[in-house]
Symmetry: C2
Subunit: 337 residues, 2 copies
């Protein structure tokens, strides 16, 4: 069987976006063996050139006839593009790793965080990458299941602007300059000013008052943990941070919460988790430190003061890496191992 070491034929749909660019940087960092790299995008960026390993590659217009011969195709160009093109990639014989929300809740499509539920991937030809906030939450939470059954998770997020793409990251930078210079912010990527502000997540709000990001975290958590009873109660908020999401998380167990020491031990042994929990130095997970890193940082581990079954955590992870491109690449690495 073909493995990563043989050098894969890789396609990226959405190569010029923030996640696509992060994938290319991860290929270098992880010395991914590539025998062919086909970069694709929508009409706006098609025709542009991206330099990779000394070669200038032209970005092709993503289309159904572009997948012939590819082993794996990473989709990160939005749910619409995935829905219209993923089946063509599968028909061409490729494994599709889809970073959009298009197939996440489809019954036949595994939703995978390799450290947590690789076993469900099977021989499926489409594997979905969970939402970034879900990945960062579950990387911090899932290892704790060995210490007791989790009944409910209550979380508030501090989400970076990178979830809205490279344009939003540039907008935070440009808009911050404008505001510092006394000018007026003109929001484009979001409905509101992002510089020096905090606002409710920029996804549609349903009749019950929850936005789509919060609903995704709820549904995806249940699917990944294979637990239809687990409660999830979350508020998703954007903060003026470039590329790492943070989350304040209260985990409620069926019985008494594990001790801080037990939680720390289990988390310190978990792949992809780094403990940052120095109470004396007041040093806990921060986006300026988790940004650009592969691990999800976890700290502020403490027993809830108002219940016997609660354990608080604070997590921070790079939205573009473990929250998107890294998790997708890890899926491909396992599939071709």
């Amino acid at each position: 069987m073909l493995t990563m070491a043989d050098g894969l034929k890789i396609g990226i749909v959405g190569a010029t976006g923030a996640v696509g660019q992060e994938l290319l940087s991860l290929f270098d960092q992880r010395s991914t063996q590539i025998s062919e790299l086909r970069l694709m995008s929508g009409p706006r960026s098609a025709g542009s050139t991206i330099s990779f390993r000394g070669e200038d590659l032209t970005v092709a217009l993503a289309a159904a006839d572009q997948f012939d011969g590819l082993d794996v195709v990473f989709f990160s160009a939005g749910a619409g593009v995935s829905k219209s093109l993923a089946s063509a990639a599968v028909d061409a014989g490729a494994l599709v790793v889809d970073n959009s929300s298009a197939f996440r809740m489809d019954e036949g499509v595994p939703l995978v965080i390799p450290e947590i539920n690789w076993s469900v991937a099977g021989e499926q030809k489409i594997i979905a990458n969970p939402n970034c906030s879900t990945i960062i939450l579950l990387m911090a939470i899932a290892p704790l299941r060995s210490l007791g059954k989790i009944k409910r998770i209550i979380a508030s997020t501090y989400q970076s602007v990178s979830g809205a793409g490279a344009i939003a990251m540039q907008e935070l930078i440009d808009q911050t300059r404008v505001v510092l210079d006394g000018g007026e912010a003109v929001p484009e990527s979001f409905g509101h000013q992002c510089a020096f502000n905090v606002f409710s997540h920029d996804s549609d709000v349903d009749g019950n008052g929850f936005n789509v990001e919060e609903q995704k975290m709820f549904e995806e958590t249940r699917k990944i943990l294979e637990d239809d009873e687990i409660g999830l109660s979350v508020t998703c908020v954007r903060v003026p941070v470039l590329r790492a999401h943070s989350e304040a998380i209260l985990v409620e167990f069926e019985g008494d919460a594990p001790s801080v020491e037990e939680a720390r031990r289990v988390l310190s042994q978990a792949d992809g988790v780094r403990i940052v929990d120095d109470r004396e130095a007041n040093h806990f997970p921060m986006p300026i430190e988790s940004g650009g890193e592969d691990d999800v940082f976890v700290g502020r581990i403490r027993k809830d003061a108002a219940s016997s079954n609660g354990l608080w955590l604070f997590a921070s992870g790079d939205q573009l890496r473990k929250g998107a491109a890294l998790n997708a690449l890890q899926i491909a690495e396992r599939a071709f191992s």
Copy 2:
């Protein structure tokens, strides 16, 4: 009895700080009648000049012999200064409104948010102003008690840098410029970079893992609501915002949570609360809008998805106004009404 309309003799200890400056601006905005204004500070700012209503006032060094004849003295120069000088102000016959943490938990000292518990103020000569995060939390929560008994409050904060004073606000501005220009941030007011970052609140962390800010919110909430059984479970976090704190709040009732409509009705009738809760426009409380305003903004009112007794809110209020100077001035206004 002396009333506000007679023109009070007012002292401010900490006149050059962020809260002191805010008080002066509120005097103008509220047309406070003042027959004498005595500005005081620590040695660093003593001797400086502040212009107020066309007069240049010299800031005196705060000392025990500076309070003669004053009707009210506002203290906002830290707990140490309050502890050493408040009794001298009381001895001189003044009402002390203390914005520090010095006396908040003293049994004989009322801890007052006028809209919530003015009745406890009595004839006391020292009245303590609660912590800013407590005030903003309780302004959003207290009105809901008419709809059912509150059992527990779970909150995560998004706190502005102004809580650390005017210097910290300038530091966020200067540091943001440095980072935008590719330089390295040199944190001074906080242990960590504040520009484009999020970090656990900069107060000491105890053996149970809670920081002092979280403990304050816990203790002060119980004192103000006069409920020793109410649970409070909170994570306090700083965000790169200048002057308004925001909080994601899950209120748990003894019985079923009230409906969204009931909560909205009660909150819309509450003094000092403004509802900002437009789901369709995705417009909810934001620090760039609550900053500079007197009201605490409340929105994202929705029933918890994972319990029958939970109601979510998102609140945002100006840390320097209702969180500090405005609440203190309102206390004086009621005392001399």
